[in-house]
């Protein structure tokens, strides 16, 4: 079975975000780049599926500037993926062009049975690329998946929706599954894993060579800004009873939040 995992490199969740002076994007200085946390869950699930189907191969794929995007691939390879694919392109591709580029590369590789992704990337929070890839490939998809089971060409998944509710969905392979937290606990890359990853193959494609043009750019982002500074906190004084009465008074009469 050929399994693909689409991953993205994003700033670490603890990163402090600064904006470039012209507002055109974030200032990359000092940012630690990591694999998107939901993508780690996707990689782990692919490894579990390969374990159940000996002889399967996991191709992990990403789009972006190859100089740094390959680091995320190396992490996935160190976790246990078999081969890496980088689709080299600018770092500001929108969801549509990214999805089209990844789908074209996956088509060229051929024979994808299952594609795993994270439910969203924590940088743009778009949660779009997964469904778009599925559409470009003409395969079924399920997003925000926290449980899944394979039986032949049938996949049964649980998808998390509002209020803790779940949709139980049955799909047929080939399909795309976007992973949510709760699906598994991703492993850490082991030292032997990291050593092995250095020898694994990373293939390259170019965005333009895959037929992605400027017309595929559907959304652009500009005028980046930081949240407005909050006025300093009003610390409530006195003993617990006094603090509680004061808080209720302020919430009702000053903030009108009740």
């Amino acid at each position: 079975m050929k399994i693909f995992v689409c991953i993205k490199q994003v700033p670490d969740t603890e990163a402090k975000i600064k904006i470039k002076s012209d507002g055109s994007g974030i200032d990359p200085a000092g940012i630690k780049w990591v694999m998107n946390p939901y993508d780690e869950i996707a990689v782990e699930e692919a490894i579990k599926l390969r374990d159940l189907n000996p002889g399967s191969q996991i191709n992990v794929i990403t789009a972006g500037p190859k100089e740094r995007a390959v680091e995320a691939l190396r992490t996935a390879l160190a976790m246990g993926a078999d081969e890496g694919i980088v689709v080299h392109g600018p770092d500001n591709l929108d969801a549509y062009s990214t999805a089209k580029a990844l789908a074209e590369a996956i088509k060229k590789e051929g024979d994808a049975q299952v594609i795993f992704t994270g439910k969203l990337s924590i940088d743009t929070n778009q949660a779009s690329v997964s469904q778009m890839i599925a559409e470009f490939l003409g395969i079924s998809h399920a997003t925000v998946v926290s449980k899944l089971q394979f039986a032949g060409d049938t996949v049964t998944v649980e998808r998390d929706i509002e209020g803790g509710a779940k949709e139980k969905i049955q799909l047929k392979t080939p399909c795309l599954i976007a992973a949510n937290k709760g699906l598994n606990m991703p492993r850490y890359a082991s030292l032997p894993g990291i050593m092995k990853a250095k020898k694994k193959v990373i293939k390259e494609y170019e965005v333009a060579a895959l037929g992605i043009t400027d017309a595929d750019r559907k959304v652009s982002y500009s005028q980046y800004s930081l949240p407005a500074d909050k006025p300093p906190v009003k610390l409530l004084q006195g003993d617990a009873s006094a603090q509680v009465s004061e808080l209720i008074h302020l919430l009702r009469d000053e903030a009108k939040a009740l």
Partner: protein, 321 residues
């Protein structure tokens, strides 16, 4: 006048608040506002759509659309859009909206912006402000090369008011026949009847300061009095105290309620990212240096085990519960 189509979601015979907001936003911005509603109840919801400004209500009144199925919804919506070709499409950034519209965008060859918090109708262009890096920054999204501009908007962004009612003329559409590959077997209801964190008006979150999982009952009691939904920090989710569907933060849910009460939450950057859009923030923590106080409107430095029961009791008195 541009035409804006709002995808209306509903539950228990009522259109959702988030959909009302979208209809009102379109109407207030002088759009020709159209609604599209799916499911066997669709026609009965037309008056509610009209009241919020819809001039036409496009319905696909098929019971197969009572539960969300990506393939059926995609087929139904593509067929409706094909006929009415609106310039703008608005939907809520809900489970359904987020699953459905990106795929629709890919099918139509058009852009989709999700998670918007502010819209600016500028003639033929719709600009959307959205949080990026889970609210650590904002950006303005604009469309290019898109015949239709699709924006998914977060709930609770504008107060509801009364708008000029629309005619609410019902237009029926049939569900196209498709070869269905995806089957939704059942929808398992959550244990809680509470509103989802992302829709709740009041959120109370607990962190490691609660010391153990059992102490979440203190938050639940306060939540019951306030009609709030309970959330949690990543630390306690990772520790297995509560389920991951309760996590607020960059790898959890991003919330923007009217009132956010953080109890025993220190305020890691990734947590602050997920809740700093809240209108009023209350922090209760025994560490006066906890970063959460930098984002808080009101702070209580003290022992949460002493404060919380008092707070619950006082609220109960004040709210007459």
């Amino acid at each position: 006048m541009a035409t804006t189509l709002v995808f209306v979601e509903h539950q228990d015979g009522q259109i959702k608040r988030s959909s009302q907001e979208l209809l009102q936003i379109a109407t207030k911005n002088n759009q020709k506002t159209l609604a599209v509603v799916f499911g066997s109840q669709a026609k009965a919801l037309a008056p509610a759509c009209a009241q919020n400004g819809a001039q036409e209500v496009h319905v696909v009144a098929d019971a197969k659309l009572d539960n969300y199925n990506s393939e059926l919804f995609l087929a139904a919506l593509s067929a409706v859009l094909e006929k009415i070709k609106p310039q703008f499409v608005l939907a809520s950034s809900s489970s359904t909206g987020r699953d459905l519209f990106p795929r629709l965008g890919a099918r139509l060859g058009t852009g989709v912006v999700s998670d918007a918090i502010e819209l600016n109708f500028d003639g033929a262009n719709l600009k959307a402000k959205k949080p990026v890096y889970a609210g650590k920054a904002f950006a303005i999204a604009e469309f290019k090369n898109s015949s239709m501009q699709i924006v998914l908007m977060r709930a609770n962004q504008i107060p509801l008011s009364s708008v000029t009612a629309g005619a609410g003329q019902v237009v029926e559409h049939a569900l196209p026949a498709i070869d269905l590959k995806t089957i939704v077997q059942e929808v398992v209801k959550g244990a809680s009847k509470k509103m989802d964190l992302t829709e709740a008006n009041i959120v109370i979150s607990g962190g490691r300061g609660l010391k153990e999982a059992g102490n979440f009952k203190l938050l639940n009691e306060l939540a019951d009095v306030l009609g709030a939904t309970v959330g949690a920090s990543r630390a306690v989710v990772d520790a297995g105290w509560v389920g991951h569907d309760m996590q607020v933060g960059q790898t959890g849910k991003t919330v923007a309620p009217t009132l956010y009460i953080a109890v025993g939450v220190s305020g890691a950057i990734q947590h602050l990212a997920g809740m700093s859009g809240s209108k009023v923030i209350v922090a209760i923590n025994n560490d006066a240096n906890a970063p959460i106080f930098q984002k808080a409107t009101y702070g209580i430095v003290g022992d949460l085990f002493e404060i919380l029961p008092k707070l619950t009791e006082e609220f109960r008195k004040v709210l007459g519960k």
